[in-house]
Amino acid sequence: MIWRKVAVPLAAVLIFLALWEILVQANGWPDYKMASPSDLPPAFWKYRWLFLEYGWQTLWRTVAGLAIAVVFGLALGMVMGFSRTLRDALYPLLVGFNAVPKATVVPIIALLFVGQHDFNTVLMAFMISFFPIAVSVSIGLSTLEPEYRDILRALGASRLAIFRKIALPKTLPEFFGALKVSVTLAFIGTNLMEIVSPHGRGLGALFDSGKTSADYPLMFAVLIALAALGILLFYVVVWLERIFAGWAERPAS
């Protein structure tokens, strides 16, 4: 079982890397057109300390932004899930806010909070990732079948008890589904800020410096590092989901 869970995805990754290598070699592409997997280990090794330092910065900023997005998204989703008026009022605002390309927001934030690079990056990660959480929680709460509420209301249960015992657990699968989307979005937010803002740090800045010095293998290495971090965080969410909402998973037959 565990063999299958590890070996199958691992084999898929290896096949992907092999196909990539073959594609580059067969076409004889130089590394400024497309680096091949064999170019990557030297790039990683050459900048190993920078990768560790910047990788950590990117990771903690993303997690911090995501954590704020979870708290804010949950609160907003609850407000919108329970009050129809607030839902009607906030939806257009929220959709409009989400529709604004975040790349255009980066310079505004960078100007607003000059020099606050950590803060700006976390803010960006948060702003880009709270939307799916808020929407899914509000939908989960507003579509709660009235009978679920009635079985407790008929006993004289308080609103808080109904929320704690019914609404919250019932919404958890939707919440985790949204969180999986938000994880990857948060990385996009972090990197947008790291790449665009001058004198940035983090993997995004490393990518930018690779671009400036025409170090193509480094640029590809950063992409792979980002993908690896994304996979890592994604599976942390999967693990949390199994703990808190494992009941929603149908046993495999």
Partner: protein, 282 residues
């Protein structure tokens, strides 16, 4: 002994964009303590509204609902409810689902006592061995059994059943009718059952009330004679057939399909079948 449930001249209408939609019109109904009352009527005649009024989930526009000599103004812990949808909480085991009401109503029971009480009921309905399963692992009939246990675990005075067997297949339904009788023998409660199934109504109830079409009022009452413990065979006697026929005609009147009673053959069919249940108009 006074009636445990008393509904006095209740009139209710829902507000809709097209104006008020009257659903109940001067409806009066009383159920003596320990008695089982079945309410039948055409679809959409306000039967579910009636259950929500008794449970205190809604207030009537006019009229009063009394439970045990107290006017119902809000939900109370002495009521248990079961619906057509068993609404079990998927994240809880069957045992935890049955214990749920005991976590809400004020009780002096310890956790162990609560679980013992739940186990006792689950055994009574034939669910021993399934306590630690999730609802998704159970069949529809078993889920409905668990839902019934949850409805009575806190020993409610009033049990409100809103078509709890409606979505089950015919054989499972008959099994659950017998389970209902077994529960009633062990647990004293006064019950109101909403149903579309006339056989179900005469098998389970002490009195069947036919509601008229919307806005509903109590159109007809049929006492079901107490002839000792009932078995499914009792549904295939001439007396049962006569009762079913009477109810069927009353439903047709409620639906506005029969101009006047008595113009049709009123003798019981020799072998009443499923056709004894009238088709419900869309």
């Amino acid at each position: 002994m006074a009636d445990l449930i008393e509904i006095r001249h209740v009139t209710h209408a829902y507000a809709t964009p097209k104006g008020p939609l009257p659903v109940l019109d001067d409806l009066s109904l009383s159920v003596p303590e320990g008695s089982f009352c079945a309410v039948v009527g055409p679809s959409g005649c306000g039967k579910s509204t009636l259950t929500r009024l008794i449970a205190g989930l809604m207030k009537p526009d006019r009229g009063e609902v009394w439970l045990h000599g107290e006017r119902v103004k809000s939900p109370r812990a002495t009521v248990g409810m079961a619906f057509q949808n068993p609404v079990l909480l998927e994240w809880r085991t069957i045992l935890q689902n049955v214990v749920l009401p005991l976590e809400i109503v004020p009780t002096k029971l310890t956790q162990a006592q609560k679980e013992a009480r739940a186990r006792e009921l689950l055994e009574l309905v034939g669910l021993e061995g399934f306590e630690d399963k999730r609802p998704s692992e159970l069949s529809g009939g078993m889920r409905q059994r668990a839902s019934l246990c949850r409805a009575i675990v806190h020993r409610p005075e009033v049990l409100i059943l809103d078509e709890p067997f409606g979505a089950l297949d015919a054989f499972t339904r008959e099994d659950l009718w017998q389970t209902m009788h077994a529960l009633r023998a062990e647990e004293p409660f006064t019950s109101v059952l909403i149903t579309h199934d006339l056989r179900e109504s005469i098998f389970l109830a002490d009195e069947v009330v036919v509601l008229s079409g919307r806005p509903a009022t109590a159109q007809f009452r049929l006492p079901v004679p107490d002839t000792g413990p009932r078995t499914l065979d009792d549904l295939y006697t001439p007396q049962a057939a006569a009762m079913l026929n009477t109810l069927r005609h009353q439903i047709e009147i409620a639906q506005g399909r029969t101009p006047a009673a008595g113009t049709r053959k009123t003798l019981p069919d020799p072998a009443p079948t499923e056709s004894a249940t009238p088709e419900i108009l869309p």
